[in-house]
Symmetry: C2
Subunit: 536 residues, 2 copies
């Protein structure tokens, strides 16, 4: 009963709390609003509390870890919260906005937009979740023969067939064997299962490596700009310094070694010791695929400068152009003759991306090579503090690195599902890229890979001034306007970093194909009106 406050009291409570705590506008969202409401009952609490003087809450933004406050993560930031609010409003009143649904183009989350999982993967996962049906006759009718066989194989790889047990902190050894074999098959170079650390998606792996390398703000990490904000957020959380290098938009987001060197020297001159270079290939948010030559230069640069190469390779299966293909940095380094002890190299992979897009399963791994046994022991210790990653994610990581083969019962279905998804993503990328390039003042590089387009918008001065008046970055101003007018959610370029004075946004290519025409129309229409309003 105490949870329900009458309308009038509720508005009073919200008002008084807002006044007292000086809430900023973006906090007046349903999420935070609900907090005020659940805070309200204390006012009419019929209890022994009356004799205690109310004390202010002891934890404030002013006395928490300033690294947390500093950390930003635009992919789930202000505009996404606004989108959630509008979605609630649409649910309550479908006529409340000039569109009938929110079109989420802000995040690489394919299944949230209707992409279906690969049948074989889900069959094996379901059987491993409930192994007692494996030898029942009905199971033959529901599951493919090879998924049943694979589930038995997976169970045999798990000590005691215990899918509900903590595993080895690096992940189940048998599953690591399978993944290592998959890496060997991909690269043509050996992979060692003891180099693999299975993690809940790639993010915890990145955190682990940054925790390891960053001692203070005097330690830097070379990161691409634009970058996926996991890196800037983690570096901020771990108290290091992000040393930016700029990808060259004019050359299709190429990576210039000369710029790397310049930024490295610049950091050194400021007393920052650069520990590692982050490369995201295929690129996020930029969608480019690095040429092998460029990768060789990068490896050589890391070797010469004594940097750890942190290779974010989670989009390795997402390539949409015939003139590019994926080469892992480990393969490139080995092909240059650099062996295990020559270069510290970490490759991140995830089940969230690729054609599988299993974001909710939180599976992934990092392959850690070129570290001394003592340092490896420290990485192992960090992994062990959180015990292990989730077993379903571990199983799925082994499946994506070793999918059905020619001749397996599931192979045809698997291949048609995979090709269906990838060829559709390719068409969507091209359609959106063309649409963006046809807009006044917008240029968009090719989406060679990954799941994103990162168009540049030449915003008129009048729009920039209007944004300033609202104390908003010009690209965020554009994106908010876009959301309010069309329901399309994209992320401002400022969330990823960009050359100062340029403005971009990141738009995924993930809405299902039947939505793409509507997105193109709404975007085109919005952009024209926006330019008509603000054209200098």
């Amino acid at each position: 009963m105490r949870r329900f406050v009458s309308g009038r009291l509720r508005s009073l409570v919200v008002h008084s709390l807002q006044t007292k705590q000086q809430i900023r506008p973006q906090q007046q969202t349903p999420l935070f609003l609900s907090r005020f409401l659940s805070a309200a009952p204390a006012l009419d609490f019929p209890s022994s509390m009356a004799d205690k003087s109310p004390s202010p809450l002891t934890v404030t933004v002013g006395n928490i870890n300033p690294k947390v406050v500093k950390c930003e993560y635009a992919v789930r930031g202000e505009i996404v919260i606004l989108a959630g609010k509008i979605q609630e409003e649409l649910k309550a009143n479908p006529d409340s906005h000039p569109f009938d649904e929110i079109l989420y183009c802000n995040i690489g989350n394919p299944q949230s937009l209707g992409q279906q999982p690969i049948t074989y993967f889900r069959e094996v996962l379901a059987l491993c979740d409930h192994p007692s049906i494996l030898d029942k006759s009905e199971t033959q009718g529901l599951f493919s023969a090879d998924s049943i066989e694979r589930a038995w194989e997976v169970l045999d790889q798990i000590p005691g067939r215990a899918t509900g047990a903590y595993s080895h902190s690096q992940g189940i050894k048998g599953l690591r064997d399978t993944i290592a074999a998959g890496i060997e098959a991909r690269d043509g170079y050996p992979a060692d299962p003891n180099d693999l650390f299975l993690t809940d998606g790639a993010s915890p792996a990145v955190h682990m490596m940054l925790t390891l390398l960053l001692r203070s703000e005097k330690d830097g990490i070379l990161c691409p700009i634009p970058q996926y904000p996991l890196y800037s957020a983690s570096i901020a959380l771990h108290g290091g310094t992000l040393v930016p290098y700029y990808l060259d938009e004019a050359s299709g987001w190429g990576l210039e070694i000369s710029d790397l060197k310049k930024q490295l020297e610049d950091a050194k001159s400021k007393g920052v010791s650069v520990r590692a270079l982050v490369v995201i290939n295929p690129g996020n948010p930029t969608g480019q695929v690095l040429a092998e030559d460029n990768q060789r230069q990068i490896v050589e640069f890391c070797k010469q400068e004594g940097l750890v190469l942190l290779a974010d390779e989670v989009y390795q299966e997402n390539i949409y152009v015939p003139d590019k293909e994926f080469h892992s940095f480990k393969k490139v380094a080995r092909s240059m003759g650099y062996g295990e002890t020559d270069i510290p190299l970490v490759s991140f992979q995830s089940v969230s991306k690729g054609y599988y897009g299993e974001c909710g399963k939180r599976g992934g791994y990092m392959e850690v090579t070129g570290f001394s046994p003592e340092v490896r022991e420290q990485i192992y210790k960090m992994a062990s503090v959180n015990l292990c990653s989730n077993i379903s994610g571990q199983i799925l990581a082994s499946l994506v690195m070793s999918p059905p083969k020619v001749g397996d019962e599931s192979y045809e279905l698997y291949l048609s599902e995979k090709n269906g998804i990838l060829s559709s993503l390719k068409r969507r990328a091209k359609t959106l890229e063309n649409a963006l390039n046809s807009l006044e003042g917008v240029t968009c590089n090719r989406a060679e890979g990954a799941m994103y387009l990162f168009p540049r918008i030449d915003l008129p001065q009048k729009a920039i001034k209007a944004a300033e008046a609202e104390k908003t970055a010009p690209d965020a101003f554009y994106c908010k306007r876009l959301l309010n007018a069309t329901g399309i959610v994209v992320v401002p370029g400022s969330g990823f970093g960009q050359v100062p004075g340029t403005w971009h946004f990141r738009c995924t290519i993930l809405p299902q194909e039947d939505k793409i025409p509507a997105i193109v129309n709404r975007l085109t229409d919005f952009h024209k009106k926006f330019m008509d309003e603000f054209r200098d």
Copy 2:
């Protein structure tokens, strides 16, 4: 081919690497040995590398984050690595040791020791993993009617029924609704789904709160001694100070408020600002269940001192004595009249413990109450950097907080599985407790709850001297001897903290019941011989 090094070359490589890198003995385990071997091929690498001067690896234990080096996690530490080595040796040669199997009593990992999962939970998880079988006729024959119904309900709680999508960073709202209802039913006080953050087990939740609260080594966290080393490890990793308070072994590991006050004042006098108090109830490694009166004192203490109460309540379902029951700290605080805005309180819960013991699923949540909207926004941001916890774990967290009800088709089976596990754990706890108390110089408090016994051993001076000679803590010396003689793996008390000069070990009550007599016999036999060898 390059991966295979002949026996002689291999031993040379290992030898030279060991010499060069001054490997300490505990690193010569299979895990790390394998690293030397995979490092070996570089020696005969037939490549362009020859023209490049070999450079030393750039990352060393001396130049990584010292907080990582400082962090320790005994539950997966040296003795467990030694056990893994012995297990490999037993596999290669069953006669290599005076026992035929390793008996893991080091970690609360029930299913690794043969505990079976609750059928209903696994049925629902399997159906949610592969929803396309939900409406097939064979499914009726394989799954209970209520698990099918529940799977539909769960799917309807997930936007777009997309179990493969990232969720809201706090977890799927519908599942949080279910969990909140479960908390309300347990406590008799309201719970707000917006207060819940679903996490991959309880560990990441603890990390998140410590990241939030710890700014530097001048910030302290009051932790019980003995404690679960997740806390000491996290505090070390986040650079804060562990402020110990001692549980009183003589009064059954009671928590004395006077000691809390003393330690708090002591910390203050050293310039440490104490931010929070950790309480583990039921206790880990100590197995006690706090009396409600004691909990009230703790709440009052936190209120008066302005501390955040971090309540580790993951063993809430594991209680084995009729005179104790579980009361959540939130219920206790609310019953004292402290409402939402009076006291910052975080309760941690996990699917890894209880009767379900689903460690590998990595599900859990924290209920965060008593923080301002601005601070909540910071917690939300931290959660969002890692996107979300795994969806299977989220679903399972909702199931354990809302299991089958009387009248449901699965109820009888569910209840018999649950009672079977809990009553067996109770018997195992009592048998082991009695056995330990019958050993010379050993005293063991009641296992009132959780999954552990934490006996105290009065080690003879001669044993302490022998340990010193081996540069080992006396309790670790005892535990290593126990492992080598019997295959029983327990964790030295020094991994959890103990009153200086006292020695303990933690032993789980989790081996299956048919193994318990062998454990008792081997332990009794070993202890007698140990005492005969070292008795003063």
